[in-house]
Structure formats: structure tokens, C-alpha cells
């Protein structure tokens, strides 16, 4: 049965502190009524964040400098040992795989969606239907999309090899060939992200004032000029937004790798998050110390991405 109690039902104290008597007297600083009510309203969220975000954050740092026994129980302080262990070719490969996966999955999904959205701007009929069709992948979860791609990539009976076969090419081991697996997982990820990108860019196009476009048309701008000089510059906030959000999303990707390749073959698709999973949870491994150190690396990379979002790049974007 659903745990009804967890949704923190409002209790009577809230009503009491919210009574008019405590709030009518304005301009008096530090009235307990309003402050008390405020903290009471914030309490459920603050409690959740404290317990399940901030405390675990500190705990991750703690675990990353401690050893653990084979059952995962935290043991002695080991200093930077787990961090030193990461200065290895193995972890270097994990970082390189993560970077490549991010590149392969972010760039094509944004450029492809931009291309489609610009084409939808050419005055044609059926734009609404087409836009909805192109946005459909948004409705698919990572798990459902990954399973569909697992069927398509099946080496013996999958459609991907069926197509190659009917064109006279040899079969490809999409998910078990070390040089093909990462691009194959990236293609599936591009597909998963495509719908969201279409929605964001379409919303951006819809916000462009028709007068600007009409003025450019009257001045004789062709379709290409219109796109490159007007639409794309005016879409730069959305494009920038997508670059940051997709990068963060790609760095966090897990489900498609777990379903399609389990990090293999030969570690070819072991990204940072997958590596954390393997160290901490896969095959009964409970190496929480080493996994936590990698989690700290993930955290630092994500914070850097956020810093880029708010700092350097944002100034170069054309805002209306």
C-alpha cells in the first residue's frame, strides 16, 4: 500500500500560526508568526534535502577518503589513496569514454534537431503534425528506448543487420565490437534526446517575433539567409541551454549503458557513472570507498559545467 504518511499532511499548527491576528500588525520586524509559519512551510523540503542531498554529500566525501572491507563497511582513513588510484590508464580510459560518449550524443542530437526545426520554418503545410512526430522520442523512457534499440541491434535477427544484409554488407556486432559499441550506444542516446531538443527549439522559434522574420523576407532574404542570419542567432539562448543541459544529462547517463552493453565490451562503454555503479553495486562489488572518490570527480565535473553555464558562455549568447 502507498505510504500515505510520507506526504507530510498539513497539521493544525499551520492553521494557527496563519491566523490573521499574527499577521495583521504589519511593519513590525521579526514577528514570530510569519517567520514561524515560513519555516514550517519550508520544513518538509528542508528535511528531505538535508537527509538525502546534503548529508549524503558530506558522506560521499567521507567515504572517498576511507577504506572499506569486502562487505562495504567503512574502515580506516586512507587519505588520498582512492584519488591516487584514479591516476591510472584504466580510469583515464573511463574519462575518455565519458568525454567521447558526451560528444557523440550531444552534438548530433542538437544539430539534427536544429536542422529539422529550421526546415519546419519553411512555409509548408502540416507543420504541427510533423513537429509532434519529430518530438515523439520524448515520450520514451531510457529503459524502453534502450530495449527497442537492443532488439534493433540484435546481431542475428536485428533490423540493423537486416538492412546491411539486404544492401550486401557484412553483419556488424553493434554491441559486442569494442570499436562500434560506444557509437551504437550514442546513436540510441541521440534518438532519446531528439524529441526534447525539438520541443525546446520549437518553443524558441515560436517566441521569435513574426515582424522580424517578415521584415527580413521583404528585404529579400532567402530561406538560407533567413535561417543563418535571423533564426539561428535568435535561437542562441535555446541552443546554449541545450548544450549545457544535454552535457549534464549525458554525463549522468546510465540506463542505456546498463541495458545495452553493461559497460563492455572490454570496458569500451564504461563511462564515469557506469564505473561508479560497477565499483559500488555490480556483481556484489561493494567498493564504496573507490566508487565515492569517482563520485566526487563526477560532482566536480558537473559543478564545472554549471559554472560554465552561469559564467563564461552566457555572456556570448544573444538574448532578446
Amino acid at each position: 500500500m502507498p505510504p500515505r504518511t510520507v506526504s507530510a499532511p498539513p497539521d493544525d499548527r499551520v492553521l494557527a500560526t496563519g491566523s490573521p491576528r499574527s499577521t495583521v500588525r504589519r511593519r513590525q520586524p521579526a514577528r514570530f508568526g510569519e517567520t514561524g509559519l515560513g519555516w514550517l512551510l519550508l520544513l518538509p523540503s528542508v528535511a528531505v534535502f538535508a537527509l538525502f542531498v546534503f548529508w549524503p554529500l558530506g558522506r560521499t566525501l567521507y567515504l572517498s577518503v576511507h577504506g572499506n572491507d569486502i562487505f562495504g563497511a567503512s574502515s580506516v582513513y586512507v587519505g588520498a589513496e582512492h584519488y591516487r588510484d584514479m591516476l591510472s590508464a584504466e580510469f583515464g580510459k573511463v574519462l575518455a569514454t565519458t568525454a567521447l560518449f558526451t560528444l557523440f550524443s550531444v552534438v548530433p542530437a542538437i544539430l539534427g534537431a536544429l536542422f529539422v526545426v529550421l526546415l519546419l520554418e519553411a512555409r509548408i503545410r502540416g507543420v504541427r503534425v510533423l513537429r509532434t512526430a519529430f518530438a515523439l522520442p520524448f515520450a520514451f523512457s531510457v529503459a524502453t528506448a534502450s530495449v527497442i534499440f537492443a532488439v534493433i541491434y540484435n546481431p542475428a535477427i536485428g533490423v540493423a543487420n537486416g538492412l546491411l544484409g539486404s544492401l550486401g554488407f557484412d553483419r556488424v556486432n553493434w554491441l559486442t565490437d569494442p570499436s562500434i559499441a560506444l557509437p551504437a550506444v550514442s546513436v540510441a542516446t541521440v534518438w532519446m534526446n531528439f524529441g526534447y531538443n525539438i520541443l525546446v527549439l520549437s518553443a524558441g522559434v515560436a517566441a521569435i517575433s513574426p515582424e522580424v522574420v517578415e521584415a527580413a523576407r521583404l528585404d529579400g532574404a532567402t530561406g538560407w539567409q533567413l535561417a543563418s542570419r535571423i533564426t539561428v542567432p535568435l535561437l542562441s539562448p535555446q541552443l546554449f541551454f541545450l548544450v549545457v543541459v544535454s552535457t549534464i544529462h549525458a554525463l549522468q547517463s546510465f540506463g542505456q549503458i546498463h541495458i545495452l552493453t553493461k559497460g563492455g565490451p572490454d570496458q569500451a562503454t564504461t563511462t564515469l557513472v557506469y564505473s561508479i555503479y560497477e565499483k559500488a553495486f555490480a556483481f556484489g562489488s561493494s567498493d564504496f570507498g573507490a566508487a565515492s572518490a569517482q563520485a566526487v570527480v563526477l560532482l566536480v565535473i558537473m559543478l564545472a559545467c554549471t559554472a560554465v553555464q552561469f559564467g563564461i558562455l552566457e555572456r556570448r549568447v544573444h538574448y532578446r
Binding site: F138, A139, I248, Q252, F288, L299
Partner: protein, 276 residues
């Protein structure tokens, strides 16, 4: 004029070509679900079913307890959605309408949670929740939802919506003896329904689609969620893609419905989703 028509034709052709890779997995996910072994387990595989093999849809329930997975996901996503809406409304009201000491700092702390990737703090959360015994039996539901009962994204989006109301509204309501509680539930919440719906749609989709947390937490098949169930179905029945795709198609129905009927709310929450 003739040149313009030609240009349009080219646009249609290019869009049509671009639509093939985007729509094919959608098509295959649903059509493959009613294809028989004669169409799927052969080489080269058929793209159009030779007959409608509806048996997949009933067989998949025999392979895995899909109905149970469905119910588990409904409870998990339902509780998370309702809880996040309630906690976000309460917090957003405090941030938008109440004078509080250290309000800006507290709000900053809320926003800071958005910068912490769940994957970076999943280990201590797992140790805590499983250590409290919430990974086995009926309390698994509690373990599934506990870390996700509040949302900085929802609070942020609703605060933005609440700030659209003139501050006179608050003062008038308070002076009329209405009180904060009634102002919130009788005036602010009813007038903010579209924003609340936007939060609801996003929270539901992300809760329903969760993968990492249920994967590592749940020990008993009875309490497995649909996403993990589909992945296990794929592992167990790889030789019968029709069965696997039937499970996929069935599991897609709720999110498809939410995306189609909640489309305008999705667009509303798009840019706010920047912060997720």
C-alpha cells in the same frame, strides 16, 4: 512561383528522410509487439507483420508479472508526484509571500541541490535506506520514494508563478482576515493550476522513468518497478523480441498519454527544466 514550389517539395523530401530514423524505433516498438516469431526471429527480419500476433500481449504477462510492475510504478510515481507538488507549493509560498530571515540564503541552498547529480550521492543514500531496512518487503515503497519527496525544480517553478501575483493580493487577503493558509489554498493554488500541472507532468515522467535507484535498491521481484521489469524481460526473453516489444509497448502507454494530453504543460515547463 514555380521555383518556390520546387523548394517546398525539396523540404518535404528532406523532412521525410529525416523522419525515418526518428520514427522507425517508434513504429518498430509498437508493430514489433504484434509480430510473430516468423517475422521477427528470421533473417532478414520483416518490417511489416505478415499477420497480427496478439498472443505476445497476453504471453508477456506469463513471462513476467507485468501487472504487478505496473502497480508498483504507479504507487512509486504517484506518491512522488503528489508529495513533490505539496512540498513545492508550501515552500514556494514561503519564498514568494513571507518575510523570512535568511530567505535568500535558504533559496540558494534549494537551488544548490539542483547542481548535485543524484549519481554522485547515490552510495550514501543507498547505504542509509538499505541500512534502515527499506529495501526488502512492503517498505520497499518507502525506500523508493523517500529521497524524492521534495523538489527544488518544483519549488523554483511555482515560486516564479506565485511571484506573478500582485503583493496587494497578499495584503488584502491578510487584512480581510483570510489568513495565509486560506489565501494559499483558496486563491493562489486554484489560480496557479497550469504551473502546478507543469510540475506534476515533469515530476511524474521523471519518477516513472527512474532507473538507477530502483535497480540497486529493490531486492524482491514483487516490488520491482516497470522500467527495471522491462529491462529484465529483455535479458530473459532476448530470443523472443515480439514478447519483449509487447512489454515495451504496454509500458509506454501511460507516458505516451501524459505526453500527448499534457503537451502544453510540457512546453510551459521546458525552460524551467533548465535547472533539473
Amino acid at each position: 512561383m514555380k521555383k518556390f514550389r520546387l523548394g517546398q517539395a525539396v523540404v518535404y523530401v528532406v523532412l521525410g528522410l529525416a523522419a525515418i530514423p526518428v520514427l522507425f524505433p517508434v513504429y518498430y516498438g509498437f508493430v514489433g509487439a504484434v509480430m510473430g516469431p516468423g517475422d521477427l526471429a528470421t533473417y532478414p527480419p520483416a518490417l511489416v507483420p505478415s499477420e497480427l500476433h496478439w498472443q505476445n500481449v497476453t504471453d508477456v504477462f506469463r513471462s513476467v508479472p507485468l501487472g504487478r510492475f505496473y502497480a508498483n510504478s504507479a504507487v512509486q510515481a504517484g506518491v512522488i508526484t503528489v508529495a513533490q507538488i505539496v512540498t513545492s507549493i508550501l515552500a514556494a509560498y514561503a519564498f514568494a509571500f513571507l518575510r523570512l530571515p535568511a530567505k535568500a540564503a535558504t533559496f540558494g541552498l534549494f537551488l544548490a541541490t539542483l547542481m548535485v547529480p543524484w549519481e554522485a550521492i547515490i552510495i550514501p543514500n543507498y547505504l542509509a535506506i538499505s541500512g534502515w531496512g527499506l529495501a526488502r518487503g512492503g517498505v520497499t515503497y518507502l525506500g523508493l520514494v523517500l529521497p524524492f519527496l521534495a523538489s527544488a525544480f518544483g519549488t523554483f517553478l511555482l515560486r516564479q508563478a506565485f511571484l506573478q501575483f500582485p503583493s496587494e493580493l497578499r495584503d488584502a487577503a491578510v487584512i480581510d482576515g483570510c489568513g495565509h493558509w486560506r489565501l494559499l489554498w483558496r486563491v493562489i493554488v486554484p489560480l496557479s493550476k497550469p504551473s502546478i500541472a507543469a510540475v506534476g507532468v515533469y515530476v511524474f515522467l521523471s519518477a516513472w522513468n527512474q532507473y538507477f535507484w530502483p535497480l540497486i535498491l529493490i531486492r524482491d521481484t514483487e516490488y520491482q518497478t516497470l522500467q527495471i521489469g522491462i529491462s529484465q524481460l529483455n535479458d530473459a526473453e532476448a530470443a523472443q523480441p515480439g514478447l519483449v516489444l509487447a512489454g515495451v509497448a504496454l509500458s509506454l502507454l501511460p507516458t505516451l498519454a501524459v505526453v500527448i494530453f499534457g503537451q502544453r504543460y510540457i512546453v510551459r515547463g521546458l525552460t524551467a527544466g533548465a535547472l533539473r
